[in-house]
Symmetry: C2
Subunit: 425 residues, 2 copies
């Protein structure tokens, strides 16, 4: 089987590339060239189920991902499917199923079946869960356990997988020599480190990286090289472990591309505002412009309950500086598995960040809707203002809860509405 990357290199414009070009308002050749260079990825398992393919990378609209899925403490597949629906409706571009509770094989299959968007997973979670369920320890996971799960995800139609290949003895050593406040906050990273420590062996996702590439190529699963050493607090940001891992991920990205496997890079995490731009530059340079998928960054550690806002700030700055793909963060981050309402809030906050960044980086047509909104504000056309809103339902509800005495204004300024005063001049 071919991959989007192999096709692009051979000069073939695939049907996915054509669809993406159409929805982004660029030429199919622009997409093909970006995929060929590895600046754009198309997470689209070659089972090619009926989803809208999306492109992530240079020159394209910033995309956002919504994580859903059960945990050991909260297993309710109907709730997760409702989260899927809410995330789709609120405007997510991809879905990751991070389920770690219940029958994860079944849950994954259902989510893939129901999702109109590309689906990603973190297979190592399943390897760990299956082993723990059998009463084993994390160190009992065999190398085959790890790769068999990855193969299963490919067969099921997963479009992209997070694999923490950069969590190696070398990066771990660098991190520990410097010392960290909050150590490793990546679940996948911490699982692999525990495995490596007990067995005194190198990370199998690194040692057998070619085996991983083979599976990824077979299904054209895009690799999302996970950042096991992403900082979990502001004080740990941009430390030696994190930068060392990025260097390694850059090398692994080269190997993936040589093997016709599409690849993107994951990034921080918790980070002070003044470090974000430099982090994007470093990733882009070290990973030769591979698409950059960031979680947050969260620009302060002290706002649990509001981490959709802390990450919207960081995400907007990151995407303005060149990050291509934002993983949403919900108000529940650091507190609990998100509720359905949290999922919606998280997606909207991420969309605001991505959209504001697209305007800042001059993405084709990004500002058009804002211009239409400004025109409708000038006309005091409230119905159209509501239609143009990111969340028309909420805008409509809020306005209707506080009806103005004159239809053409709102209760904030009432008859002292600046726009209305201006019209009378």
């Amino acid at each position: 089987m071919s991959t989007q990357l192999k096709d692009a290199r051979s000069g073939n414009i695939t049907s996915a590339m054509r669809k993406i070009a159409n929805s982004e308002g660029v030429t199919p050749e622009f997409i093909r060239e970006g995929v060929a260079k590895g600046n754009i990825v198309i997470p689209y398992n070659n089972s090619h189920r009926d989803i809208k393919p999306i492109g992530i990378g240079k020159g394209l609209r910033t995309k956002i991902n919504a994580n859903i899925g059960t945990s050991g403490d909260d297993v309710d597949i109907d709730k997760e499917l409702e989260k899927l629906n809410v995330a789709v409706k609120a405007g997510a571009d991809t879905i990751m199923d991070l389920s770690t509770g219940g029958d994860t094989d079944r849950i994954r299959k259902i989510i893939i079946e129901k999702s109109p968007l590309p689906v990603g997973t973190v297979p190592i979670y399943q390897s760990a869960c299956e082993n723990l369920k059998k009463g084993g320890r994390i160190s009992d996971i065999s190398v085959d356990d790890i790769f068999n799960v990855i193969e299963r995800h490919g067969k099921d139609g997963v479009d992209f997988i997070t694999v923490h290949c950069g969590v190696t003895l070398e990066t771990l050593d660098r991190m520990e020599r410097e010392g960290r406040l909050l150590d490793v906050v990546s679940r996948g990273g911490s699982l692999l480190i525990k495995w490596m420590r007990y067995r005194k062996e190198e990370n199998p996702l690194y040692t057998y990286y070619d085996r991983l590439l083979e599976i990824a190529r077979e299904y054209d699963m895009t690799l999302s090289l996970g950042d096991g050493f992403r900082p979990g607090c502001l004080a740990d940001a941009t430390d030696r472990g994190q930068v060392q891992e990025t260097i390694l991920l850059g090398e692994l990205a080269d190997r993936a591309r040589k093997g016709d496997v599409q690849v993107m890079i994951e990034g921080p995490g918790h980070m002070p505002i003044n470090q974000i731009e430099a982090n994007i530059l470093i990733q882009k340079r070290l990973c030769h412009d591979a698409p950059f998928y960031v979680l947050g960054p969260l620009v302060t550690d002290i706002a649990p309950g509001y981490d959709h806002i802390t990450s919207a700030i960081g995400g907007a700055i990151a995407a303005s500086a060149g990050a291509d793909f934002l993983c949403y963060v919900t108000p529940s981050e650091h507190l609990r598995l998100p509720t359905i309402e949290d999922v919606k809030e998280g997606v909207i906050a991420s969309r605001i960040a991505a959209h504001a960044a697209d305007i800042a980086k001059g993405v084709n047509g990004a500002i058009d809707r804002d211009i239409r909104m400004a025109r409708m504000r000038k006309e005091l056309n409230w119905d159209e203002q509501i239609n143009l809103s990111l969340d028309p339902e909420k805008a409509k509800r809020m306005r209707s809860e506080s009806p103005p005495s004159e239809d053409d204004v709102c209760t904030m300024c009432a008859s002292l509405c600046a726009i209305k005063i201006g019209q009378g001049v």
Copy 2:
């Protein structure tokens, strides 16, 4: 009577300067020098009622303001007092009473009496309301009406007033020659323009600026030079009208300082992310480092219902680049007069922005609470995590709504908690 500025220039360290130095962790001399240079203002009416004085400006913690007050369509003084309490509790540094409905004299007096924080107003609103109530037109407002209201606010103890002195025939002409999508969205600005147009006269706040300085000096009311030409949509940002007004405000700031009157400058507004840093630099240069008070900036126009988030993004970037004072924006912006809950959401979002910016610009001690939070996360100490949160009540509620099966984790990851796994290594 003296003013903080006059005292600072004479080498006197006032009791307010001492208190501020203490709460900011800097020397009293640092505050005195900043006030003397006009880089720091202390909005503190010389009636010196019992409030905690605050400093706004260079080298100090970024401050945030919460607007409250009635409108013609929503007059409920108890609700506004509840908003005051909520804003204070959520961590606002100042309160602006923007009331335009009901008995605004009485409302202002009550808010000043009840507020433990400095209070600001926009006197031109009252001049307009009083005139309209009498059945007059905006153009009927006399010059004395305008200055008498300002005098009344000074007597009542108002600590800072927004005065749109830069809305002149010259700036208006510049704006109109270029053309704008959304014209003027500042209430004060639009009122003055209407007045100027009908009467074919210059803005009295500009013509009689010395009269204004006299009143401000008498009560040591800090002038907040309003940005009548702030952009109301992204497409209008950083246009000629806006920049022309900033030049003029810089000149007026010089005159204020010469007259021993403390002065800060107001800024945009709606603005693409990539223009924010340049706007801060321009304001700081043109206004000779006068403290900069920004509304937002809102980084997209299409998110009514979520403008606390669009402005938290812009505010964090602005404050990181040097803005000193953020005016909060609530989820109700562009839709209605904010509810009590909206006020809380708006203050918290602004605090996140200000705090994240303070870390970025290296304000003394700003990161300390984040470091403590990281330590508590490492220790899986949930009670302390909640105590250290910006909104402990919300964090506590969210966690308690989804109780984990093991006390030391949360339902997001349950037994696969990365930090817990890391502890076992």
